[in-house]
């Protein structure tokens, strides 16, 4: 399977990465090299094989349903490029 230029533009959009038109062809070539490489997986018979969900067989631990953390808005927003009164600032998203 290989991707065309329109698909590369669509994937960039879905990935939320602006891709200048001049970079589309280069990226397309690299992605297709990788898709060509993974094509060999098609030869493997996977009938009846369960997909892996956890590499180590273990039951997920449960803990008491209590608050263990919080009240740290100042620390949470400390590294924000733009914040005000412990809020993250973003461009207007609702009209």
């Amino acid at each position: 399977m290989s991707v065309d230029a329109a698909t590369v533009r669509r994937i960039a959009r879905l990935s939320r990465i602006a891709l200048p038109e001049a970079d589309v062809a280069g990226m397309q070539g690299e992605i297709n090299a990788i898709l060509g490489f993974v094509e060999q997986l098609g030869e493997v018979n996977v009938d009846g094989v369960e997909p892996m969900t956890s590499v180590t067989p273990m039951a997920l631990k449960m803990r008491e349903d209590i608050v263990t953390d919080g009240e740290k808005a100042g620390l949470v927003t400390a590294n924000a490029p733009q914040s005000e009164d412990n809020y993250f600032l973003v461009p207007k998203v609702v009209e």
């Binding site: 690299e30 060999q40 631990k61």
Partner: protein, 504 residues
């Protein structure tokens, strides 16, 4: 007095206990070595003030008789580990001047045991790479000289474009180079597809990727969460075991960290391996493998046999599918993990006309080419209509890869011996024009171990005909790192250390 930076961690620990020198002496010696080695670019941030304060506090604890197991030992920390109050970037522009308000569990355990932080080490951006060339801070130079280069030629290249000097491997290239160049007594590293073991092999150092779940991933910048594990790179097998004992352990903050006792891994070093069964998987004899790698592998098997181990041929039939399956699973997880870099909560921001435009411009400016490509591949294989053909199939193949190992272990194999890499270190910029798959092939022997969640130890096995270090890999049963340390010390006793002479 001998140069304190040339000591192993174990030797330095003895010197501190015997009061031959203090942690401040040891730390100052390393800080001076780091300053002189800046052109190697192993550190992206030196923290001398913090280091000296930690060393002085360590010396005070020792005076009071409160020494921990790594008391006063100066270490380098891969810039993937969040360090409270100290800039952490994953060597990506997108994190900018990110200063964590918390400490990763692994590093907090090192400080708990008395270790000293020298600074943050370079790596491939978000740990995506095999040569440390994708770092936003530029490449790291391997302290081992290229074949037939004299020191003058190397110094000239170091002052210029660095072309022809060797890469230290990746993604933990800063860690491996710093250990090999005596710029720390040991380093933290992470391994998603080979990022501890391949750099160790390229620099003549020792590195272990523990069993998945052995070390907490909390506070480590995530790449592919089902594959990522932290581990040490150090000068010797014993040094590596000492660091592992502090780094490992259950952590309630990482639901995938396993709640089992952490042994004193050092006790396994030097233990008899008589009666152990070592598997030699025929599928690792890949096409085009250099004869010297084949010879190194045979020599390693001989050493273990001479120590009383039984060496048997085994088959791991799905080996060849591990790398292609990895290049679906790892980018898929990366595309999800790296969605958090949005220019809103931390890191850099490029303004846009609306929120989507802000995301797209920020991520275009902040991520490097390799990272962008992997996010896009991951997005593609997870997108509607392609999920079953790519991602689901790859996860089924992962089950088969793990089953291969389980069958070998069920048949009585205690550990598996393979080469660590298909070649010795290559030159900086040498792979610039190759297609990405060529670079990925570096991990062909290591990636199976991540896919199966197993422990893997890489250590020097010898040198190639040009005198460059070559590594062997020992793969163990889940949570049996101890057998790897025992077997590793047998090989180390025969091969010795492969050190770089200072020329920079």
């Amino acid at each position: 007095m001998t140069d304190l930076t040339s000591l192993t961690l174990t030797e330095a620990r003895k010197g501190l206990v015997d009061k031959t020198f203090t942690s401040v002496d040891l730390t100052k010696a390393h800080l001076a070595a780091m300053e002189a080695a800046r052109p190697l670019n192993a550190y992206v941030l030196e923290t001398p003030e913090k280091a000296l304060a930690m060393a002085a506090a360590s010396d005070a604890r020792r005076t009071k008789g409160e020494a921990g197991r790594l008391e006063g030992i100066p270490l380098g920390i891969k810039d993937l580990f969040a360090t409270e109050g100290t800039r952490t970037t994953a060597s990506s522009n997108i994190l900018g001047n990110f200063i964590p308000k918390y400490e990763s569990t692994v590093t907090s355990q090192l400080w708990r045991d008395g270790a000293v932080m020298l600074g943050k080490l370079n790596n491939d951006e978000f740990a995506m790479g095999s040569s440390n060339e994708t770092s936003a801070f530029g490449p790291v130079v391997n302290p081992h000289l290229p074949a037939n280069w004299d020191e003058g030629k190397a110094r000239a290249a170091l002052g210029g474009d660095k072309k022809g000097l060797l890469v230290p491997g990746g993604s933990s290239g800063g860690s491996s180079a710093a250990v090999a160049a005596n710029l720390c007594l040991g380093a933290t590293a992470t391994d998603t597809g080979g990022s501890i073991r391949q750099p160790a092999a390229f620099t003549g150092t020792v590195g272990i990727k523990p069993t998945y779940g052995r070390c907490s991933r909390w506070g480590i910048v995530a790449f592919a969460s089902s594959l990522d594990q932290a581990g040490p790179i150090a000068k010797t097998v014993r040094d590596c075991a000492a660091l592992m004992t502090s780094m490992a352990g259950h952590d309630a903050k990482d639901s995938t960290s396993v709640d089992i006792a952490v042994p004193d891994f050092e006790a396994a070093v030097g233990k008899s391996v008589a009666g152990k069964t070592i598997g030699i998987p025929r599928e690792y004899r890949v096409e085009g493998m250099p004869a010297e790698i084949e010879a190194l592998w045979k020599k390693g098997a001989e050493m273990l046999r001479a120590a009383g181990a039984k060496v048997v041929d085994i088959s791991l039939p799905h080996t060849k599918y591990a790398l292609p399956a990895y290049y679906i699973v790892a980018p898929a997880e990366a595309s999800s993990n790296l969605a958090r870099y949005d220019g809103v909560r931390y890191g850099v921001r490029v303004p846009g006309k609306d929120i989507a435009d802000l995301y797209e411009k920020t991520r275009a400016a902040g991520f490097g080419r390799e990272v962008k490509r992997r996010i896009m591949i991951g997005t593609y294989v997870l997108s509607a209509g392609y999920y079953d053909a790519y991602y689901l199939r790859a996860q089924k193949i992962r089950t088969l890869i793990k089953r291969d190992f389980e069958l070998a272990y069920a048949a009585g194999v205690d550990a598996i011996l393979t080469p660590a890499t298909p070649s010795a270190a290559f030159g900086i910029a040498e792979m610039a024009d190759a297609d990405p798959v060529q670079m990925y092939l570096n991990d062909v022997f290591t990636v199976t171990v991540n896919m199966a969640g197993l422990p893997g130890l890489a250590l020097p096995g010898g040198t190639d005909e040009r005198g460059l270090p070559l590594g062997l890999q020992l793969i163990g049963r889940p949570f049996d790192e101890e057998t790897l340390f025992s077997l590793g010390s047998v090989i180390e006793d025969q091969v010795g250390r492969i050190t770089a002479k200072r020329w920079w």
